[in-house]
């Protein structure tokens, strides 16, 4: 009994890691890494409202509510950007914290009102509680992974184009907005199915860390995505095993810490891009050298085209 329960949870976290790796690769490359964080936080009030409306802890009901309010959060972000003069970062912080605050207030009053009802403990969604994963939950995660994977495979060409050069995508006559929304929905769905296991606060980590670690090892998008899925999956499994071994330690944070370990290892040891490799062979100067020789005066764009977080403060 214990064994099969562990197996169920392992399958669940493995699949979750794979799905996050897939979707997260696009999120990181498109500099939308924190959008997943916003969706995860924004999902909490919807989850609570779904519980209040249907009085069931059926995971489908709760997650549908969560998905709807997560998407509402994403829409709020674009509306606020469109209609106010607030900057990206402020808008994300506002939507994230206000929705999350609503969620916290709802979970607390649900807990106070339905103290005797089983399953009213929605606060477990905040940090996540993988150990209680059921067969049905895993089946849902499997469906989500299958759907996400087939969409990504079918539209790989289009999604690659969108991520690399959105304008060119649009100019070639593709619906960049449509693809953008599709990716947003895929991200939201992945985040939401991850909530029960990893929790609101940390789901974003699964989207960001494995792809960022995978980027060190390859210069090809398809391979990067596979490595990200592998790291995500292995982190899921390792985190679950660690949590089973050290009784009482929560699964979600352990999964995140495992993937962080992967990131740090990649950061130090990866060929060409790793810290060790770089200090030994390729200095920055050499990387820029071919173009200094060519009489080129335009700096490397990737060093100065990031989102405006604190870059300007560094003199």
């Amino acid at each position: 009994m214990f064994f099969s329960q562990t197996l169920i949870v392992l399958t669940g976290t493995l699949l979750l890691g794979i799905a996050s790796g897939m979707v997260g690769t696009f999120a990181v490359l498109r500099r939308r890494a924190l959008a997943g964080d916003v969706v995860a936080h924004a999902a909490l009030p919807g989850l609570c409202l779904a519980f209040l409306a249907f009085h069931s802890r059926s995971i489908i009901v709760l997650l549908t509510g969560a998905l709807l309010s997560g998407l509402l959060g994403a829409i709020s972000v674009s509306l606020l950007k469109r209609f106010t003069r607030l900057r990206d970062d402020a808008v994300q912080g506002i939507v994230l914290s206000v929705f999350y605050g609503g969620g916290i207030a709802l979970t607390r009053s649900i807990q106070n009102h339905y103290r005797d009802e089983p399953g009213a403990d929605l606060e477990s969604f905040i940090i996540g509680h993988a150990a209680t994963m059921m067969q049905g939950d895993v089946a849902q995660i499997a469906v989500v992974v299958a759907v996400t994977a087939s969409i990504v495979v079918l539209l790989f060409k289009e999604l690659k184009l969108l991520s690399f050069d959105e304008q060119f995508c649009q100019v070639q006559g593709w619906s960049a907005t449509g693809l953008d929304i599709l990716l947003m929905v895929l991200t939201a769905v992945t985040v939401v199915v991850g909530l029960p296991a990893v929790g609101v606060v940390l789901t974003a980590a699964l989207l960001i860390i494995p792809p960022a670690a995978a980027r060190f090892w390859t210069d090809r998008l398809s391979i990067m995505m596979m490595i990200a899925c592998a790291i995500g999956g292995v982190s899921g499994v390792t985190g679950t095993l660690l949590s089973a071994h050290f009784d009482g330690l929560p699964t979600g944070p352990l999964i995140v810490l495992t993937s962080t370990a992967f990131f740090i290892l990649s950061w130090i040891f990866a060929p060409h891009r790793g810290l060790l490799w770089k200090s030994r062979e390729v200095t920055d100067l050499e990387m820029y050298l071919p173009w200094v020789e060519a009489g080129d005066d335009v700096p490397h764009p990737s060093t100065n085209s990031g989102p405006p977080i604190a870059t300007q403060e560094v003199p």
Partner: protein, 262 residues
């Protein structure tokens, strides 16, 4: 001159009364431009004149306040697959995990349509385009490992792979070395000889007469446009580069505030 005769062919490219504004403040005023002949067209003007904005708005990347754009006699939205585009080099993330070959291959995506994967035909075409810009040896490199001029050539190869009849190129000579500049001009010349139209945002006034057939002088409005011999005159250049029109600035302010000027 724009009154269309019944038997006249529709213009290759036509902008009618296009005004573009950022945050309600007009940055391009009443642009009217018609291209009837194949050839090399330079868009020339000082910094902040809206050169890039003009072609970006024409291709639908920037919303217009008013006006319409058509190509071959019908609205441009439906004609995008016949149009090639070379954006400014800074518009993409050069650290993206993608090789030179894959980047150029993207030019063929438009002809493929949804879901279909590029096959042998597209791969051969990609290789040919790389050879035309002299980048075949770099096919497997990650794009960030190229010099600025080489990156520009990759963008050109990608545009070639689009096999378009009309090209828009946003500063393809910005920050490139002399070797690349020559390669680029030879390439543009051969495209033009094949009967295509290439519109280039250009900032080097010295090379205009040498390479281009037509020129558009732009400074928030079109000062003059036409064949280089008759249009690229010192009087017109004076009008283009001789400072901004202060009245337009005042008016832009008024329109932005939605109030009458004092």
């Amino acid at each position: 001159m724009t009154s269309s005769d019944e038997n006249e062919k529709p213009a290759i490219f036509d902008i009618h009364d296009m005004t573009v504004a950022y945050d309600r403040r007009p940055v391009l005023w009443n642009i009217d431009l018609t291209l009837r002949n194949a050839g090399l067209v330079a868009i020339v003007g000082p910094n902040g004149a809206g050169k890039s904005t003009m072609i970006r708005a024409a291709m639908g990347l920037v919303p217009m306040v008013s006006g319409s754009v058509s190509a071959w006699g019908s609205a441009i939205d439906g004609q995008l697959r016949r149009i090639g585009y070379v954006p400014q080099r800074g518009s993409v993330d050069w650290d993206f995990p993608i090789s030179v070959f894959e980047t150029v291959l993207m030019g063929t995506y438009g002809s493929l349509g949804w879901f279909r994967r590029p096959g042998r035909v597209q791969r051969d075409l990609t290789m040919q385009c790389l050879e035309r810009v002299g980048m075949q040896d770099y096919a497997k490199r990650q794009i960030g490992q190229l010099s600025g001029g080489q990156q520009q050539r990759v963008f050109l190869a990608r545009a070639l792979a689009q096999q378009a009849e009309l090209y828009f190129m946003d500063e393809p000579m910005a920050g490139v070395d002399a070797a690349t500049e020559r390669v680029v001009f030879e390439l543009l010349q051969s495209l033009s000889d094949e009967g295509r139209t290439i519109v280039v945002v250009h900032h080097d006034l010295r090379t205009v007469t040498e390479y281009f057939d037509e020129v558009v002088l732009l400074n928030v409005r079109i000062v003059a446009s036409g064949p280089v011999d008759t249009t690229f005159t010192s009087a017109n250049l004076q009008a283009t580069y001789g400072g901004r029109l202060s009245i337009l600035d005042t008016m832009a302010e008024a329109v932005q505030k939605q109030e009458e000027t004092e």
